[in-house]
Subunit: 428 residues, 3 copies
């Protein structure tokens, strides 16, 4: 080591690269991944500014002119359905003096008008009018900055990168057949909640990737079979009846899937591609229809007008930031959006049949009860994990076999960081 090296302070990027190189497979990540602002910035660059990010559902913007806003870390975005009915996404920043253009869901009036000095943009992002400018002002230079956007079976993704991941079209083509029969594109938003969790976004994702902790979810467990994590070989005798019940339920839903032409093959490509994902249909316990105390449908109208509510659930995990449950009677989408190293937004949206009437076909309280409780329980666990990994005494511990999807998430994540750190060109 030369004297010069000895005195050079270790920069944030050196520290992150060393920690990435040091990652031990099969173990949880080191503390700074969850707490250090340099790692947070790297996550934004390597993951949230590279990948397709699930941010909304088509059903939030059904008509031309409809709009909404969403923030991905420091990136403020707006979504609008243009006059042709196509979705558009833009940076939510006025090209004049940088004011945030729209706040919240922003109504449905035709053009996009900045509330500061009335710069007015068309729904295609072009600048229509800027008051008081000189005659030679070139409006063509000051359109809103576009962001890639696309819908997959009614689920809306944006990508901040100039070049979105090359494998997303293939992933979309493989999951869309699972989604389309449920008619999410024309569904109705029955409810949406925003929950700020006191933990890093990865802890929110990791927590969702296993049911090892599901003892803490009594409401959710009512319709999950209590055989999770066991195989035929190590099944305790007390769970034998539940196991038999599950086998019967699986056989029944498989027959239904075949009859209705619903794809149900498990695909699990979590850590061997850029757009890691997992999709599966599975039976539910009790009535087998929905996440309710008795397992019966919470909405009388069924999604996609399918002929039976007894479909179990379609579970989709999609890296980096989302998961989904599609049931016969409703669907629930989950979007995880980083706010700070130790704060994360979980946006949950409940979708029902477009003609389902609140108070007639469904009671929102019943519809939302299981996942509202589950989200709150998970938020407490995530906060507890964040507080623990933030301390100097924490060191990575071993994952159990039933946490293989957490391990897959972490391996996938580390691969994204490695890819970013080895890029030749600077980030856009």
């Amino acid at each position: 080591m030369t004297p010069q090296e000895a005195t050079a302070p270790r920069t944030g990027s050196t520290r992150t690269a060393e920690a990435v190189a040091r990652r031990a497979a099969g173990h949880s990540l080191e503390g700074p991944f969850y707490t250090d602002p340099d790692f947070y910035d790297l996550d934004l660059a390597a993951v949230f500014a590279r990948q397709w990010i699930f941010v909304a559902v088509d059903a939030e913007l059904p008509e031309p002119g409809d709009r909404t806003t969403v923030d991905i870390g420091p990136y403020a975005l707006l979504l609008v359905r243009d006059d042709q009915g196509d979705l558009r996404a833009f940076h939510n920043v006025c090209r004049h003096r940088g004011a945030r253009l729209l706040d919240g869901d922003g109504g449905t009036t035709g053009n996009l008008v900045c509330g500061y000095h009335k710069w007015t943009y068309r729904t295609d992002g072009s600048l229509l009018h800027a008051p008081s400018q000189p005659d030679d002002f070139d409006r063509g230079r000051y359109g809103l900055k576009p962001v890639h956007v696309r819908s997959v079976g009614g689920l809306v993704f944006v990508c901040l990168a100039a070049q979105p991941p090359a494998d997303f079209p293939e992933v979309a083509a493989r999951i869309e057949p699972y989604l389309l029969p449920h008619g999410l594109r024309r569904a109705k938003v029955a409810a949406r909640t925003d929950l700020v969790e006191e933990g890093n976004w990865k802890l929110v994702m990791e927590n969702n990737r296993e049911c090892y902790h599901c003892d803490g979810h009594p409401e959710l467990l009512r319709t999950f079979f209590p055989t999770y994590g066991y195989t035929e070989e190590n099944l305790p005798a007390r769970l034998r009846p539940a196991h038999e019940r599950r086998l019967r339920a699986e056989a029944e839903v498989h027959a239904t899937y075949e009859r209705l032409g619903l794809p149900y093959e498990l695909i699990e490509e979590l850590d061997d591609r850029v757009t890691g994902f997992r999709i599966q249909r599975a039976a539910l316990d009790l009535a087998g229809e929905s996440f309710t105390p008795d397992g019966r449908a919470a909405c009388r109208r069924l999604l996609g007008d399918l002929p039976t509510p007894r479909l179990g659930h379609l579970a989709l995990h999609l890296q980096p930031n989302s998961w989904f449950h599609v049931l016969g009677d409703h669907a629930i989408t989950f979007s995880v959006l980083p706010l700070a190293p130790d704060r994360t937004l979980l946006r949950t949206t409940w979708l029902v049949h477009p003609q389902a009437e609140e108070g007639v076909d469904y009671d929102p309280g019943t519809l939302m009860s299981v996942w509202t409780a589950t989200n709150a329980q998970d938020a407490r666990l995530v906060a507890r994990a964040q507080r623990g990994v933030a301390g100097p005494a924490y060191e990575p511990g071993p994952y159990a076999p039933s946490e293989y999807q957490v391990e897959a998430f972490c391996s996938w994540y580390i691969a994204r960081l490695r890819s970013e750190l080895h890029r030749e060109e600077p980030h856009p």
Copy 2:
């Protein structure tokens, strides 16, 4: 580039110097000027610790022994009127163990007594008594640290620098004749509000330097002529009557100014001197007397005992941190004080005739209504601008011709930073 340069991290001072050098005239400033702690520190050093800063009015401290406190960024100051009736300013820090000496407005008892261990200072800052010290204790070494202070026509300025800007006496001499006829030195404080805006101090100033956004100020617009930003050439037909009305009102106030000997020449030296400023008298619409819904005076006693309230308004802009409106019946002062990169205090003070009686001569609600509403509207715009420029997608946009005073403010500001960065001697 040598290896040594390659590994040296770019320091805050390098980044600021590069951004200052890169500033494109006619465009808003880059985002870090509003968000980065290094730029905030530079602003404090180059602007707030160099310039004369408007912090109070004489009317807040009319009698010997009166005192008040004010913070300029991290600098805690106290103002006191000494036994000779002169204003004094000191760092508000006890010379014993550093406790903040006075809190808030601090009453009027003679000496300045620290609430911690009763160290007692005279109003001239000298240490009168320190309990329990040994016999050889030298009180002469522990007087309060003085800060430059001066009043201009009743407006109180402090300067933290060892050498205050050389051009301030000239500026003071030129604006004082405009102010003196209104008798602000002996006025009464009718009200004072502190509003914390969620934006950088420069956004607060920039927002005040244009009326391009005044559509958002319906209360203020009632007495502003609706021809702002137009010239004779581009005046729309619908504004022709208002334009004629304005010409008549201007002619009338000019005649009044001449009759009363009130100077009213526009002086605009915003960006070509260290103490940039602009002063102007202008007619108001409707009754032409005051900022009220019908334009009539809000206080029956007139400032300076002038014979008519129909004086329009005297508008004074003074870099770096203040603006003023002086009307026939009252005056309003605005002091902008940085709290953090993204938080700024706006202190607004309403002054009336010293014998004006609340409830008899004026109703505080009416007096304050227009600027309380306007300040709140501006705070929302500033917050929106701060959120926008803080994002990675923001880039500087072009100013319109009607925003030339914003451009002048930014040019003046950049000149201050350049001057600071080229100083040979370190900051005191």
Copy 3:
């Protein structure tokens, strides 16, 4: 200076080392010691991760299985009384994925069960059960990480260092005889309060090391003799009666101490050893029994079943973070725990005879009134000091002779930093 040195930014550790080297004896510390995150980190490393830290009383965990939690800066700890009745301390972090193991006082159920995935530890810290692990999982590798813990006369201390300070056993042996007669080990916790003070931990300690500011404590002063800070030579005439009263009271308590065999010699070794401390018994004014408005006992049952409440108070100061008052009828412990550079937790615990009954033998409001008021007054002074020393105008001022214990605290503290900075081996 070489060009290379000239361009190297001064690192946090260079700045701290320079400030430590520059410390002027007899003067308060420079501002950054109280505000700079680098100094805060150094304090944690040099003081809180090296010394024995007072964190609890035995009486909070009287029975096997009892447990509590405490945080020392970023270190989350848990205390538990094991099955043999011995105290144990561990890092409060699950060895699986790092979740905080216990929250708050955590109940008394036998094993320590993580609320996330039910990893279960014995009270000796060993891992008893980890669900769903493979057959070859080695539980022996995943016990809780232990922390040194010991009780001195009922006061519980932990030490995060691998090698605790060598002089603590001697200090413990010297103070334990003072404490044991009061039976704190078997006392009852009558009340506990947590107060977050808006100041650095050292300002909280310094404030406690002098009564120069006690004018601000009218409740406490009722039973303190008003002769503090005076000697026979400089005693004002007006205090002569109080002085005589104090001499009589001291003579009386000394006789009582002799009769009861209570050690009462003043020991003051504040800055010449690693574990600086001071212990003293002294008479109180008025009834001389307790900190109450009339000086009478606040609890009818006496600590340690001593035959008289008229014992004055035993005052113990122990570096770095505690002080204690033991009276005939109750004892009060004070634990100072850093939360951030400018935030500190003061935990105050009131102890009474184990059989004393609330509402019968003591009224909690009366018991707590003096120190609840005193703590709140001190918190205001500490906040005022923090705000003052955080400003650029603050410079260290001179201590008075009556502040010699503050000076001793600062000298001791600087010695701890010097020792840390000269260590060869890195911090564990």
